[in-house]
């Protein structure tokens, strides 16, 4: 293993070999199959599937609702993270533990529960009905489901960043007469900015591929409330494997862009850390 630095510890060959082999078999090979299936299509056929009106409609909903959900989580995730980090109140520990619930719960369970609560006959949907707000079977419901399942990403990314904000700096600024908003803009915001962007990207990444929780609340009308993952499933159910693969490649490309963004953000955070240490 000439590409690895020598070490007294044993087992590099075994563990590295097993890791790469297993990774290739379970993840990389299947993904290569997907790409090849799409690549075997005629270019015009590929475009016909990927740019069909129905596909474009599904992108609009998937991207629009995911961006909206990530933005909502940016705002409310910041408020929740700030509350949990800065304030002491009864039940804080339980609330803090509950934040991870959308991660631990199966998406199908979140989906049917949200649909029931926000249906016109449900606890909250019943209150919204007289106001003329219809949540279930509209894009609003899709956004709501995506907000719920991606919420922990925003809170959990921001919490450690808010802990890093140096209290002494804030105190010094306030002692010197800085207003609260000025302290927020010049001290708190710069410290948490990378975490905010990372949280937003993670929320978006999770939301755009989500399937289980959305299909129950969406109504799944073509062009209106049909997300891209569902359109892939519909292609598969019609045994149109190539069409499904074509849409799959589009989604895969988005995942790669998101991963690249995340890696760049991480590098940015690390550089700032190094600079802050000097």
């Amino acid at each position: 293993m000439s590409f690895a630095k020598p070490s007294v510890l044993p087992g590099f060959g075994l563990t590295f070999g097993f890791t790469t082999l297993f990774l290739s078999a379970i993840v990389l090979l299947p993904l290569a199959a997907l790409t090849l299936a799409a690549a075997s299509m005629q270019w015009s056929d590929f475009l016909a599937v990927v740019l069909s009106a129905r596909a474009l409609g599904s992108y609009r909903l998937s991207f629009g609702a995911s961006l909206l959900a990530a933005s909502i989580n940016l705002v409310f995730g910041s408020i929740i993270a700030w509350t949990l980090v800065r304030y002491e109140f009864p039940g804080r520990k339980i609330i803090d533990a509950l934040i991870d619930m959308p991660f631990a719960m199966p998406t199908a369970v979140s989906g049917i529960a949200l649909t029931t609560v926000f249906a016109p006959t449900g606890w909250i949907g019943g209150l919204l009905q007289p106001l003329g707000v219809q949540v279930t079977y509209t894009w609003l419901g899709v956004t709501l489901a995506l907000t719920l399942i991606s919420m922990p990403f925003a809170v959990r990314t921001l919490q450690p960043a808010l802990l890093e904000v140096q209290g002494e700096l804030e105190e010094a600024a306030e002692t010197l007469g800085a207003r609260r908003f000025y302290v927020f803009r010049r001290i708190i915001l710069p410290t948490v900015l990378p975490a905010l962007l990372t949280g937003f990207t993670l929320c978006f990444a999770r939301a755009v591929g989500e399937y289980g929780s959305v299909i129950f609340i969406a109504g799944n009308l073509p062009m209106k409330t049909e997300i891209t993952p569902l359109l892939i499933v519909i292609h598969l159910e019609e045994f149109d494997y190539q069409g499904a693969a074509a849409l799959g490649v589009v989604m895969l490309a988005i995942s790669f862009v998101v991963l690249l963004t995340l890696n760049l953000l991480q590098a940015w955070r690390r550089r700032r850390h190094v600079r802050a240490a000097h």
Partner: protein, 289 residues
């Protein structure tokens, strides 16, 4: 999924100048109120609904719907799948963490990104890739049919799809933990003449056991709850290839709400148990990053 707020945070610490003015108090109550309202509407109301709907017709009806043969077979299939997937992904996670945390080699960051890849990919795609490989019109479809092996729309497909989506969970917990703990103790053990396996079982494993447990619990929760990927490969054959989440969908679409929410309540309790383990593990002092 980072750590919970450690004690000794800024909450309730020293009084800063002007902290007790009425604006501060107003902002404080506003923030707490918004947090509680947001979580109540989006998280607590759905959670309460699950149990309210499951117990709508009383406890006997709830228990009866859980004892339904199709439901029982769904529970059995889900447990079997998790019992296969979690141990395999644990062994993988340990191997990956050992290679990545203990050694320096070129391309390490690429390897870490590739291990995390399944988290960035839609579950629907995770299921579809196996249909493309092993489905009737897939790459190995003809060969598999000749030899009378079914993977897609059968149990092996469910296991493969679940393995794909839960692939990174154990490795992700262990890699940062093992990197943080360093190599000193392992190097000492090896230098003193301990073998590789002995060092692993007696030195490394005890150090990372809480992180390992947390990774396995997360892996298990996702394995038992996965819907999208499994839905694509399962074929929805009632009593045969129906896992618990898929069974929830079928019951829900049949308007059997008590049945659907009864199964959902079992999975919700499992999720709550996962969070309890997480909280306990964090209390032992183990913290990610």
């Amino acid at each position: 999924m980072a750590a919970a707020t450690p004690p000794g945070t800024l909450a309730g610490e020293t009084a800063r100048p002007g902290q007790h003015t009425w604006t501060h108090r107003l902002v404080r109550w506003l923030f707490i109120a918004v947090t509680l309202a947001f979580l109540a509407a989006l998280l607590l109301a759905p959670l309460a609904t699950i149990f309210a709907m499951a117990l709508l017709r009383g406890l006997p009806a709830y228990l009866r719907s859980l004892a339904d043969p199709d439901t029982l077979s769904a529970i059995r299939l889900t447990l079997t799948t998790a019992a296969i997937v979690v141990p395999i992904n644990t062994v993988f996670g340990l191997a990956a963490a050992w290679a990545i945390a203990k050694f320096e080699f070129r391309g390490k960051s690429i390897l870490i990104t590739l291990i995390d890849l399944p988290l960035a990919i839609s579950p629907v795609i995770a299921g579809m890739v196996f249909v493309l490989l092993f489905g009737l019109q897939g790459w190995f479809g003809a060969w598999l049919q000749e030899h009378d092996i079914s993977i897609v729309f059968a149990f092996p497909g469910i296991v493969l799809a679940t393995m794909f989506v839960t692939f990174p969970y154990v490795a992700r917990e262990l890699i940062p933990l093992m990197q943080q703990l360093g190599n000193d103790e392992e190097e000492a053990a090896i230098t003193l003449g301990a073998g590789g396996w002995l060092t692993f079982f007696r030195v490394t494993l005890p150090k990372v056991r809480w992180g390992l447990l947390y990774g396995m619990v997360l892996c298990n929760a996702r394995a038992m709850g996965e819907f999208g990927a499994v839905s694509v490969v399962s074929g929805h054959i009632r009593g045969v290839t129906n896992t618990m989440p898929l069974h929830i969908e079928i019951l829900y679409n049949e308007y059997n709400f008590v049945g659907a929410f009864a199964v959902a309540s079992v999975l919700t309790l499992l999720a709550a148990l996962t969070l309890v383990v997480k909280t306990l593990v964090e209390r032992t002092g183990y913290r990610r990053r």
